[in-house]
Amino acid sequence: MSRRRAGGTWGALAAPGMAWLGAMFLVPLYAVACVAFGRIDPIFRDALPEWDPRAWRFDEAGAVLSSLADGPLRAVAVRTVAYVAIAMVLALALGFPIAYYLARHAGRWRLPLLALIVVPYWVNYLMRMMAWYNLLSPSGLGARALRLVGIERNWMDGSSVAVVLGLVYGYVPFIILPLYATLERLDWRLVEAARDLGAGPRQAFRLVTLPLARAGTAAACVLIALPMFGDYYTNDLLSRSPRTEMLGNQIDFYLNASTQPQRGAVLVLLLSVLLLVGLSSYLRSTDRTARERER
């Protein structure tokens, strides 16, 4: 079979899946827009989607933008970005050395250690967070044990610390695995060459390993940042305080518990746009790097 013919066959096989994925992205997105720019039931105050774009109304979108610019939602948006940024840096700081060790030095322990990292995550995310809540709440076993060694703190007092650490714990394996995949396939001969040419271990790491792992590291960061931006259950389970609300919590509130569902839908659209902008800049940069390497 010629290469061109094989490509055509695979293209035909992929087409239904691509069409399905496309429809599953575009149709719900359109539905969200119809809710965001639609009406609400005058009595029930729940969403009445406006399917005809010519009749879309943008007053609620304006209210959300105004709140983001100079209202209650501004603090929520700033907090969300800060939480995600801090959690991502902490997850990277925790995950990179683990991935590096697994890829470079674990030897025959590599598979058992990988399994040990993955196994706890077979347990449902909510259950793991609830377990932490029960352990670290003031009457929990963990908090009592810490008190015995002189660490006295109410971990579940609705503070940012609990939410950020929860995010780190929840998402850290999703940064370790792609980092491991990147480092495991890295051409270590280049590092050895750097060492042969007189670079110290730190210099070789900084000038060779890190640049080679940059694309993989960026992808791993993107992979955990995207779901973190939409996360609401970590805050719901570990804090429940308005002072730690993230954008995901506001979306949940507006769509499920308020009489202003359009605002939730507007936030969904804004968050999607923000994430797509961030993602496309990453994709452009990796494309550029790939082209440079091919040259």
Binding site: P227, S241, E245, G264
Partner: protein, 399 residues
Amino acid sequence: MRRREFLRRAAYAGTGLAIAPSILAACGGDAGGASGDLQIGTPESPVTLRTVGEPIADGLAPESGTLELLNWADYVNPETLAAFESAFGVKVNVTIYDSEEAALVKLRNGTFAPDLVMGMTDTALARLVAAELLQPLNRSYVPNFANVIAGLRDPYYDRGAQYTVPYVIYGNGIAYRTDVIDRSRFTDGDGLGAMWDAAYRGRLAVIDSYRDTIGMALMRDGGEDVNTGDEDLLRAAGESLLALREATNPKVDIISYQELPGGNRDIAYVWGGDALAMPMYLPEGVDPGVIGFWWPETTATANDFFCIPRASTKPVLAHAFIDFLSDRDRALANATYVGYQPALEGITVDEYVAATGIPDSLTDALVTPERYASGLRFHSLDPAVDAVWNDVWAGFTAG
């Protein structure tokens, strides 16, 4: 596929993961508009709700199979359910909701068709009837209706009790740990002010219900209209809640009935029935007297009720369940788990205490008929007023 391409595609997939839940949430479908106007009853202006459809005929046999029940969490005793299942040879399946708004959405969009709903209040009733979601009851199947508190047999929100049968009564107040807070904290003339006390920062909670918590702020400011449409008063209550938020960093949820006895909170604004349930969640060996309850002289009192959706496929069995739980002995047995006080006549404080074993420090949470009658009532709001209440709440929860 090269590694970089794989990573790039994985990143695309990540975008989908991040936004998928929100998108799905927004795709709940068009529930359609309401069919009629809101009929809002108040104690001053009781309402006879318009009748939609006919009650079921007399003398029908209860259906077999599974009774689908929509209820709050921990709001019916599993032993009571088992007794009903055994008595009628059926199964009962409970689906929970965590706010009236969420229950209304479930009922309206048809994603779930329960046979019986428990725990709704008159803040939702007008909308349920306007959307023609309920069926009128046939009380020949509910002889125990005669046990209902006299003042609720013809309630202001549903004259003639056409659609509803009261389930429990309660009043809003403050539950607290007596080993941390002395009762005198509440008796200095500004008892509700304890909820604004920075001394309880990180260990204080309010109800995740915009009506109840904004109502608390209104009452603290001296208001006696917990259904006000006065925007200035509501904005002032909103400012007051922001002050509470800054001072105490409160939890906003409906699980204080577990968290306060568990030692994770010291003080919480609660539905009184939740306070009565707290001793059941104390660690073994802890004196129930560690839980205290206080409420202001004038507070909100309410009752929840049973109602049967129009789409119920087992209406006779649903009526039988209402009757089963309106029996005094079964209602008391149910209260040993739920905590909430049955809305039935003749259950004295002594009887209730004997049945449930609640400590003296909690007897204040029991609602006497006089207390119930003199309490403030939340009722359904005009949609425009409701929007202002929601706006104030959104400002508070946005942190």
